[in-house]
Amino acid sequence: MSVCTARSLTLLGIDALPVEVEVDVSAGLPGFSIVGLPDAAVQEARERVKVAISNSGFKFPTKKVIVNLAPAHLRKEGPAFDLPIALAVLAVSGVVPAQRLDGAGVVGELSLDGGLRGVRGALCMAEGARREGLRSLVLPESNAAEAASIGGVKVFGMSSLREAVDFFSGVREVEPAVAEEDGRPEEVRSGDDFADVAGQRFAKRALEVAASGGHNVLMSGPPGSGKTMLARRLPGILPPLTLEESIEVTKVHSAAGQGSGALMRARPFRSPHHTISTSGLAGGGSNPRPGEVSLAHHGVLFLDEFPEFSRATLEVLRQPLEDGHVTISRVAATLSYPARVTLVCSMNPCPCGYSGDKRRTCRCSAGQIERYQGRISGPLLDRIDLFVDVPRLSREELRGGEAAEPSKDIRARVAKARDAQHRRQRVSNSALAGRRLREVCTLRGDSEALFGTAIDRMGLSGRAHDRVLRVARTVADLAGETGISVEHLAEALNYRRSSFFGR
C-alpha cells in the first residue's frame, strides 16, 4: 500500500479539532512536501521528521513523499504534527502496521535525535480525542499526566519516536498514564487568607459583596494601603471550582502552554502589568493564544494602577465583561476563548497618590487630579458596581475592632448567597439588567421611599440607580432575605461612585 493515515489534533481556541495526516509514497524523484494549509512550523517538520527517522535507526524512503493534512481548509500550526507524520511515513514503509494507527490520536514534536518534546494544549487534545471517539491518545511523556486528568480516553506517554514505533508494532507494552493526584478541591493557600489582613474591614466587606454577586470592583487609595493584598485574597473567598469549571480553566491554561501538568483546582488570579498590549490582555497573535482575561477565566483579573493602562487596551475588556468570552478574528479563522472574570481594579486617588491622606500632603493640583481620574473610560466604569476607598490606616485603627475573620468563614456566606441567586435567576446579580433587574429586586416596606430620597439627594443617574439596586440585591442575599429592605439599600449606597467619576 502506498497511502497511510494517522490521526492527529490541532487547537482552535481552546478546542482541539481532528486532523487526518495522510502520507503517500510514490515512485519519482525523491522529495518531501506537505500540503493542507500548513504554517511555517509545520513546513519545518520535513527536516525534523527526516532526520529523526534516520537517527532512530529507520530508513527514510528515497521516493516522492507527499503529506496531506486534512481538512485542507483549516490552518495548521505548530510542531505537533511531527510524530503523526513520522509514524505514517514509517507505516507506508511497513515498519509500523498501518491498521494499528487506526483509532489512535497522535501528537508530538520531534527532536533531531528522535526524542519527543511536549506540546501546547495537551488537555484540550485529550478532550478532543474523547469527543471524536478515539480509543487512545499518544503524546510526549511530559504531557501525559495533564492529558490523563480529563479521563475517558487512554493516554500513552512516549519519550521517543523509537518507543512510539515499538508501541504501535506491539513490541513494547506501555501502561496508560494516570492523572496526578488531584486531591480534594484545593484549600486556600496558606499565605492568602483574609485573617492575615488587619483592619480594612470596609474593603473586606466590599469584597465579600463582590464575591457573592460577581460584581466588579474598583479600589482607590494611597500607595501602601493594602489594595493588592486585599485583591489577592478575593479568589480564596469564591466558592471552589466545580469539575466542569476546573476542566475549562485547565484547558485555557493548557492552550496557552501554561498547564501545570494537573487539573487546576484553585481559582486563577491574574495581575498583568499596566504596560500589557491589547493582544496580551485579550489574546491573539498570529498563532493565537489566550490572553490574561482568559487565563483569569472563573477567577479574578486584577488591574493594578488602573488609570495607567492604555485606553485602547482596556476597551477590549468590554466584550468579555459583557459576554463572558473573547472573540478573535483572523484572516484564517475566528475563534473564541472563554473569559468570565471578576474584575478588580485599583488606583491611586491622584497622580502622587496621597490625595485625601491624613499624614502626607498631596502635591497634585486640582486640575491634575481631575485629569487623572478622567483618564478611565466611561463604558468600562459602567461595568463596575462597587467603588471602595481604601485609606492608609493608622496604628490605632489597625488595632481597633473585631478580630479578622478567616477566608473560609467568608467563603461559606458567599456560597450561600450564590446559591440563592442561582435558584432564583440562574445568573449572578451582576448580570441583572433592565426588566429582569426590577423583577428580582423587590423593595420592601420603607425601602421604596428611601430609594426615592437617595435618588434625589445623591443625584443618582439611571445607571447608578441600577448599580445600587444590584448591589442591594446581593447584600440582601448575603443576609438570606428575599426582599430588599432599608438596611440593605442603605449599605449599598456606600459602594456608589464618589463624585470623582461623575455619576
Partner: protein, 374 residues
C-alpha cells in the same frame, strides 16, 4: 477724544498682558495717550524695559487696530471699562496697579459702582475639604440672600462653591478671571461660567483669547481684592493664592476674614495663620453677615441652626452610635467602625441612612464628616 483715550487704554492693557502687571504704574509722568505713538527707544528712555518687553511693544504697535478690536467686543456684547469711564469701579483705582482696561461680560452689579461695602470676596483652596466647601457655599448663600455681591475667582473648590451658594440664594455674583474674557478655564466649570454671566458678570483685565498663564492668576487676585471691601478666606494652605488676595485687600485698606479650620489639616494652615495674625474670625454665618451688611431695623435674624455637637433625638441606636463615631474632620469608615464598635454591615447601613438624613457627608476620598442637620 474719549475714543482716543479708550484706544490708548486698550493698547496699555494688551501691552500689560504681555509684560507683566506693573507696567502702567511705572510709566510715571508719561502721558498715557502718548504711549502708542512712541517708539520703543523713546519709551525705553522714560521707563525701564526689558528687551522682551520692548519687542512685545514693537509687535503690538505694528498690529494694533483699536477700531476692529472694539468693534469685535461690541459684537460679542462685552463692554470695556477704562479708568476714564464713569462705570469703572471706583475702589479699583486705589489698588497699586489698577488695570488699564476691564472687560466685562454681563452686568456689573450696582454694588461695585460706588464705594458701599456691599461686595465681599470669598476665596480659598482649589482642593478644599467637604466642610470647607460647605462653609463657602453657606457664606455665599447668606451673603446673596442679604443682597451682598459675592466676588470670587471661578476656580475649582472654594471659589466655585461660593459662586454656587450665591446663585442658589438668588444673589448677584462676579467672577474675576485670570485669562481672556471669553476663555473658560477650568473647562469643568463651564456651566457655572454661564450662570455667573447671567446673574452678574464675568470680569477680566485680559482681552479676548488670552491664555490662562500661571502668573496671571496671582495678578487677577489684586482685582478681586480691589473690587470689594472685605475678603473672606475659607480654606487656604500656606502658599495659597487666597493669601495673596488677602494681602492685597489689606494693602487697599479692606477687611480680611477667615473661617477657622481644624488643627493639622494642611489645607487650613494658611487661613488659620490669618486668624492668628488678626483677621476677623467667622464663627457664625449670621453674625458675619450682620457685621458686613447690617439690617437697618431689628436684631440678628438667625439664618440657620448652629451645628449641634450632641446627638439628635429620634435616631435608631445603631445610627446614634455611628453618628457619634463620625468626626467633624473627615473620618474613614474603618475609623468610625473602631470608635462606634458596630459590625461593619450594621455600620454601613447606618452610614447610608445618616447620609440620606443629612447628618453626615461623604467626601471624594470616601471619608465621612458631620454636618448640621437638615
Amino acid at each position: 477724544m474719549a475714543g482716543r483715550d479708550q484706544a490708548s487704554y486698550l493698547f496699555l492693557s494688551l501691552l500689560q498682558a504681555r509684560t507683566g502687571t506693573s507696567f502702567v504704574s511705572r510709566l510715571g509722568d508719561v502721558p498715557l495717550t502718548a504711549v502708542p505713538e512712541m517708539s520703543s527707544a523713546e519709551l525705553g528712555q522714560r521707563v525701564r524695559m526689558t528687551e522682551r518687553a520692548a519687542r512685545a511693544f514693537e509687535d503690538l504697535r505694528r498690529d494694533f487696530d483699536p477700531g476692529a478690536m472694539i468693534g469685535e467686543l461690541e459684537r460679542r456684547g462685552i463692554s470695556m471699562l477704562t479708568p476714564a469711564d464713569a462705570g469703572y469701579p471706583p475702589r479699583l483705582t486705589k489698588v497699586p496697579d489698577p488695570p488699564p482696561a476691564l472687560f466685562v461680560d454681563g452686568t456689573l452689579p450696582e454694588a461695585l459702582r460706588d464705594e458701599l461695602p456691599e461686595a465681599v470676596a470669598v476665596v480659598g483652596s482649589r482642593k478644599a475639604s467637604p466642610s470647607g466647601l460647605d462653609a463657602a457655599r453657606r457664606l455665599g448663600g447668606a451673603l446673596g440672600e442679604r443682597g451682598v455681591c459675592v466676588i470670587s475667582g471661578l476656580a475649582l473648590g472654594i471659589d466655585a462653591a461660593a459662586h454656587e451658594g450665591a446663585l442658589e440664594a438668588g444673589g448677584s455674583t462676579v467672577g474675576v478671571l485670570g485669562c481672556g474674557i471669553d476663555v473658560v478655564y477650568p473647562r469643568s466649570n463651564h456651566r457655572l461660567f454661564g450662570k455667573v454671566r447671567e446673574s452678574g458678570a464675568l470680569v477680566s483685565e485680559y482681552h479676548l483669547g488670552e491664555a490662562p498663564l500661571a502668573w496671571r492668576f496671582p495678578a487677577r487676585n489684586r482685582i478681586i481684592a480691589g473690587l470689594c471691601g472685605s475678603v473672606v478666606v475659607v480654606e487656604a494652605a500656606e502658599k495659597s493664592g487666597a493669601l495673596i488676595t488677602a494681602r492685597h485687600a489689606l494693602d487697599a485698606g479692606g477687611d480680611v476674614w477667615a473661617v477657622p479650620g481644624p488643627l493639622g489639616l494642611a489645607e487650613c494652615r494658611g487661613s488659620n495663620k490669618l486668624l492668628a495674625d488678626g483677621a476677623g474670625c467667622i464663627w457664625d454665618v449670621a453674625e458675619f453677615v450682620e457685621a458686613i451688611a447690617p439690617v437697618p431695623a431689628g436684631g440678628i435674624v438667625p439664618l440657620e441652626k448652629p451645628l449641634d455637637v450632641s446627638l439628635p433625638a429620634g435616631l435608631a441606636p445603631g445610627e446614634a452610635a455611628a453618628l457619634a463615631g463620625v468626626g467633624f474632620e473627615p473620618t474613614e469608615v474603618d475609623a468610625v467602625a473602631g470608635r462606634s464598635g458596630l459590625k461593619m454591615q450594621e455600620l454601613l447601613s447606618a452610614l447610608g441612612l445618616l447620609e440620606l438624613k443629612g447628618y453626615i457627608h461623604r467626601d471624594g476620598s470616601g471619608a465621612f464628616v458631620r454636618r448640621p442637620a437638615g
